[in-house]
Subunit: 180 residues, 2 copies
DNA sequence: TCTTAAACAGGGGGGCCCTCCGTTTGTCAA
DNA sequence: TTGACAAACGGAGGGCCCCCCTGTTTAAGA
């Protein structure tokens, strides 16, 4: 993977910046043409840099997600189940607040090159360690797999885009169950 | 609301039949143009009968949803919480199995005429009685509102379209919580 | 400076949703 | 039965979208 030419890098950055803004306004379905127009590039340029909508969304959210993942890697605390729940709640709040992210995560990495770091993978990695830690402490039951929890968090976030508070509340409900 | 003319009724039925087939194949985003083409009507006819995609989806699923609601109205059993959980699981399985339904329910009745029976309303009605019953028996905690549960079930279903088994499993997980 | 491959802009094809408007057709009264 | 009328029809067309193809510009290294 050769480094991009200077103009290529410049354009790529502008595209991501504009895309972040428009996805924030219109959600994951933002018009790629408008993104290209506002970034001052042709639509072909956008499609060369990002072969799919999914790839563009990945680029938009990669930094934020990475940051979220770092925060989880902090020192293990007392109650691994509570830690897991807290992080999931934070994840849900974040994805719900960032329009388009939850949908992108739910869709999965549609044919992204394996070389690129992928949001789904990063998050799933973090989640796996948290689940393993909690599980080996006997703090959660076996039915709760990382994949299921990831799906659950994203499903709730995608259903509550623009309402992170509700999303967090419902996730909390889902983690504690309905019984008193 | 005058009854439709004979040709109007015929066309309407054909549209719904074809739409059900194509939504089953392509999901809620099925092409309205193709539906009209296959039904042998002009696109204007389709739009006259169903002013929005939402309205068409409602028509497709109304019968199945009504049936599902009836089944819930059966005699109250021993454990209201289990009843609630069972019905929610059934709902999730059904909506996940019928492509497009979950998405339609999540979107909500977008400007449907109030006269028409609406799937969301039917389901929410059933859910309210189940929750009230369980709640007054002290079998579930107060945080679980009908709206939250509806949203939760639909979110899981929409995230697992075409995989009703996974959808049911994850819903069960969400209703029991992660602790052992 | 010069060469050349990478990156570019814009146009065009194909598809979609939805509305306008002239035409056909079912219905009901005479 | 017939005829008038309102209801329902369907095709064309506007506006938008995504994506690919083409010839042109330009940055980077010799």
């Amino acid at each position: 993977m050769k480094p991009l030419r200077a103009d290529g890098r410049r354009n790529r950055e502008r595209i991501v910046a504009v895309a972040a803004e428009l996805v924030g306004r219109d959600g994951a379905q933002a018009s790629l043409e408008e993104i290209a127009r506002r970034a001052g590039v042709g639509s072909a340029t956008l499609h060369r840099h990002f072969p799919s909508r999914q790839a563009l969304l990945e680029a938009i959210f990669r930094d934020g997600v990475a940051q979220l993942c770092e925060r989880a890697a902090a020192q293990p605390g007392r109650d691994p189940a509570a830690e897991l729940a807290d992080w999931l709640e934070e994840l849900t709040g974040y994805t719900a607040a960032n329009r388009g992210l939850a949908a992108a995560l739910l869709t999965g990495p549609d044919g992204l090159s394996a070389e690129e770091i992928c949001c789904t993978d990063m998050l799933l990695g973090v989640l796996k360690t948290l689940v393993t830690r909690a599980s080996s402490a006997g703090a959660i039951h076996a039915g709760a797999t990382p994949e299921d929890l990831m799906m659950l968090a994203n499903a709730i976030a995608v259903a509550n885009e623009d309402d992170p508070l509700t999303a967090r509340r419902v996730l909390r409900l889902a983690l504690t169950g309905i019984r008193p």
